[in-house]
């Protein structure tokens, strides 16, 4: 791996490899697992976007679900109102809509620090979905929109099961977006983002435009949120205000910390945890055959405990553990070396 390929090519190759692996994975798993794989995909890009904003740039957003809301409604309205648009155009517009909203939010947020930013973004997550109540004719009020997305080429209908096809589309989009993100993170922007996070004054003395950098971080991260929402709408055929509660925004942030803040890998672990932890705890609660009051609330309680324990005992998240393991595999511990 010492050949000097430019990062973009390297990232594209890696993405292609991942896509092949994922297609293989969907081929050997059942339709419902395909759906879950796709679900991990759209959460991954949402959390990865947040990783850029919060992990790299240090801006804590409690309202990232709002950008998913925008992406989802963009796709929903386009599918319903402009049926002739192909899905890739809808998704592209969802990215643009998310990015545009992020630009505005970022401009408003650039001067805010720590908890002020947190409070403002939380208000965004609570406030924005209320728009649907104000314009019920367009957004269908609290019931929201439901629709079916036609995305499969005619030749593949009946050949590839719909959930499998959907998971391919989701992951293709997600991997393309990740390539962009990874490139940004490794390049100049990544360094500026970290510089601003670590010390705004020093960064600005070194010629970094602090405000612009923060807005840019918001823009990129919200565009990812828009894509995630658009993919969710594409996958599930729904856009409703009840899906975009503050709980969603907070769970994205929780996934980021669970997975590990420092890298995009953490976003992957976080997204997997977000999807599968719920599944496991539900199954576990069912297994115990408890009284309904206890069984219903057990998954939430376990989720809470895991968040607390992670922060207290494993602050580097899952990625921290993975990294430690990786180091150990590559360089056997001294004692083992002695034995051999």
């Amino acid at each position: 791996m010492t050949t000097k390929l430019p990062p973009l090519v390297l990232h594209l190759l890696a993405a292609l490899g991942c896509l092949v692996l994922l297609v293989l994975l969907t081929l050997v798993t059942d339709p419902f697992t395909n759906l879950r794989i796709a679900t991990v995909g759209y959460y991954l890009i949402a959390v990865a976007g947040l990783a850029l904003l919060t992990g790299f740039n240090g801006q804590v957003s409690l309202g990232h679900g709002a950008f998913m809301f925008i992406g989802a409604y963009t796709v929903a309205l386009l599918v319903k109102r402009v049926p002739a648009f192909p899905i890739w155009a809808d998704l592209l517009l969802a990215v643009l809509a998310g990015g545009l909203a992020g630009l505005l939010a970022g401009a408003a947020a650039a001067r805010l620090h720590g908890p002020y930013l947190a409070g403002a973004t939380l208000a965004l997550a609570v406030g924005l979905p209320a728009v649907t109540q104000r314009f019920p004719d367009l957004f269908a009020g609290s019931n929201g929109l439901s629709f079916t997305v036609n995305s499969q080429p005619a030749g593949l209908v009946g050949v590839v099961p719909p959930t499998r096809w959907q998971s391919w589309i989701v992951w293709l989009s997600v991997l393309l977006a990740l390539v962009v993100l990874a490139n940004l993170a490794r390049g100049r922007l990544g360094r500026t983002l970290r510089a601003v996070r670590d010390d705004e004054v020093a960064a600005s003395l070194a010629g970094v435009h602090v405000g612009r950098t923060k807005i840019l971080a918001f823009l990129v991260s919200s565009a990812c949120g828009g894509l995630a929402g658009g993919l969710q709408a594409f996958l599930l055929g729904t856009a409703a205000p009840g899906s975009f509660t503050p709980a969603l925004s907070l769970s994205l942030l929780a996934a980021l910390v669970l997975g590990g803040l420092g890298s995009l890998w953490g976003a992957l672990w976080g997204a997997i945890a977000l999807v599968y932890f719920q599944v496991w705890t539900d199954d576990f609660a069912e297994l115990l055959s408890l009284r309904s009051d206890i069984a219903d609330n057990l998954p939430l309680a376990l989720y809470g405990v895991v968040l607390i324990v992670t922060v207290l005992a494993f602050p580097a998240g899952i990625q921290g553990g993975v990294r430690k393991l990786w180091v150990r595999v590559r360089r056997p511990a001294p004692s083992q070396r002695g034995e051999s």
């Binding site: 620090h113 002020y116 109540q133 609330n297 309680a301 922060v311």
Partner: protein, 283 residues
């Protein structure tokens, strides 16, 4: 005109509750630079305890006292077990830890008291546009807030609390037991939070009852300035009355949007809230 007066009075009593819960957030923020997302859950557990005690003994006031005491203790325990180990871990860790605690406590409440609503008593007769109960809510918040302000300003304990908040290292050098002060701060805040919960919960209690109040309390604290207890109280009252007008004159569905609009408008002009100090850079 009567509508206007009625909406103002209605907004005043809900604003008082936002102010009280906001105040508890501010006390904690000043002491430990943590926004305590578990605050509604701590208040929730106290309110449920009040519910059970009141149901068992028939006395509202026994329940009231039990809730405040239990809430305070809960705050102390949380600080020692969860917040203390995180003191060097950064803003996000504390947010996630308190968030985890919120989920855990809400789930526990659901397990013990079920997710179904129960009737939860007002302190006094609640009948009337500005009822004895509303009056009590406003008075209780005023008394609690004044007490907290006087405590900070004029007592040796308050001085030590402020010293700890201002600069823990220096406070330690001059002999303040910083750890103990943080614990006291959390206990105090959770006690005030419990009071807010008791005032905000009626008429019904269920695990998510305080979520909405919390969002507006945080909004109030951010509006007023997280550093400034007095600012938060003003912020809470302004927000309560403002949202009451929006709800009554424009429509209830606009309330969350209005809260966002008010917040954005204020923060655009004053990024540290109406009364917050412009944050000096912390190196």
């Amino acid at each position: 005109m009567t509508t206007f007066v009625n909406l103002t009075l209605g907004g005043l009593s809900s604003g008082a509750v936002y102010a009280a819960l906001g105040l508890s957030l501010v006390i904690i923020y000043r002491a430990t630079r943590v926004v305590n997302f578990a605050q509604p859950a701590l208040a929730l557990i106290s309110s449920y305890l009040a519910y059970s005690v009141t149901k068992g003994t028939g006395s509202y006031w026994l329940g009231f006292v039990a809730a405040i005491v239990a809430g305070t203790l809960l705050g102390v325990v949380v600080e020692r077990l969860i917040i203390r180990p995180l003191r060097h871990a950064g803003e996000l860790s504390a947010i996630i830890a308190t968030l985890g605690l919120l989920l855990l406590l809400q789930a526990v409440a659901g397990m013990i008291w079920s997710n179904e609503p129960h009737a939860f008593a007002y302190a006094f007769d609640f009948r009337g546009r500005f009822s004895p109960s509303d009056l009590f809510a406003v008075l209780a918040v005023v008394v609690a807030a004044t007490g907290v302000l006087l405590l900070f300003k004029f007592t040796p304990l308050g001085l030590r609390l402020r010293a700890t908040a201002f600069n823990p290292e220096v406070a330690k050098l001059v002999g303040v037991r910083v750890g103990a002060m943080l614990t006291v701060g959390w206990g105090l805040a959770a006690g005030v939070g419990s009071l807010a919960g008791l005032l905000a919960t009626p008429p019904f209690i269920f695990p998510t009852v305080l979520d909405e109040v919390f969002v507006y309390a945080l909004t109030a604290a951010v509006l007023g300035g997280l550093d400034n207890p007095l600012g938060t109280i003003v912020g809470g009252l302004v927000l309560g009355i403002g949202l009451s007008y929006v709800s009554g004159l424009l429509g209830a569905e606009l309330v969350p949007l209005a809260a966002l609009a008010i917040l954005v408008a204020v923060l655009a002009v004053r990024p540290s809230g109406l009364f917050g100090r412009a944050t000096a850079r912390r190196v």
